[in-house]
């Protein structure tokens, strides 16, 4: 999956950032992201502070994405576009049971008695290899 900048931004906004409330000597209340010093919001009311905070966080994250800089992340967080899941290959292999043993369809019966057990569709199975 190729992540667009907007998809990355939306994902980044949901990370468990370390948010701190501080009070300046002038009496301003600040909401700060510990990992991103530039992301600081303020305001007169709780609603204003929250709105300003999210705007500051979004602007900061956009800057990191724009410049392609490494983001300081919350502890334990990895980004899915930087550490994509290894491609999963699912191999469907048909086999049958011959004398109570699983045998691949193309595997020869070295005992020379493959026909000794009647072939039934119900004997088909699937082995999943990852």
């Amino acid at each position: 999956m190729a992540w667009t900048q907007e998809q990355k931004l939306a994902r980044l906004l949901t990370l468990p950032w370390t948010i701190r409330l501080e009070r300046t000597p002038e009496g301003d209340n600040l909401l700060r992201v510990a990992e991103l010093p530039a992301a600081v919001g303020t305001g007169e009311t709780d609603e204003e502070i929250a709105r300003d905070f999210w705007e500051a966080l979004e602007a900061t994250l956009r800057a990191y994405l724009h410049f392609g800089d490494e983001l300081p992340l919350p502890p334990g967080v990895t980004l899915p576009w930087e550490h994509p899941v290894e491609k999963v290959v699912i191999v469907h292999t048909k086999f049958r049971f011959v004398r109570h043993q699983a045998r691949l369809i193309d595997q020869p019966d070295t005992a020379g008695s493959a026909g000794s057990e009647r072939w039934e569709p119900k004997h088909f199975g699937e082995a999943v290899e990852v």
Partner: protein, 88 residues
């Protein structure tokens, strides 16, 4: 001494930095080769610079189009510049 250097010195030595405009802060950052990130409709502006060692430094400002910046913004900017070696 260039204007931005004098501004930087003033800001760095100002214990109550309440008289600086957004344009003055930007003059300092431009003097230090910071670049502005593209911004949306809001008032938050993010500036990004590099130390000589290549460390990324990000400074957040607020451009309301008038008046002076809140003192904490100048303090934050100076703290970032100081901790990253832009101010000796």
């Amino acid at each position: 001494m260039s204007r931005w250097r004098k501004l930087l010195a003033d800001m760095a030595n100002d214990s109550d930095p309440r008289n600086y405009t957004y344009e003055e802060a930007v003059a300092v950052l431009r003097g230090l080769s910071f670049a502005a990130a593209p911004h949306g409709a809001g008032s938050h502006r993010v500036w990004r610079g590099l130390t000589q060692g290549g460390t990324v430094v990000v400074v957040g400002l607020v451009d309301r189009g008038h008046g002076t910046l809140k003192p904490y913004l100048i303090r934050e900017m100076i703290a970032q510049l100081r901790s990253n070696g832009f101010i000796s």
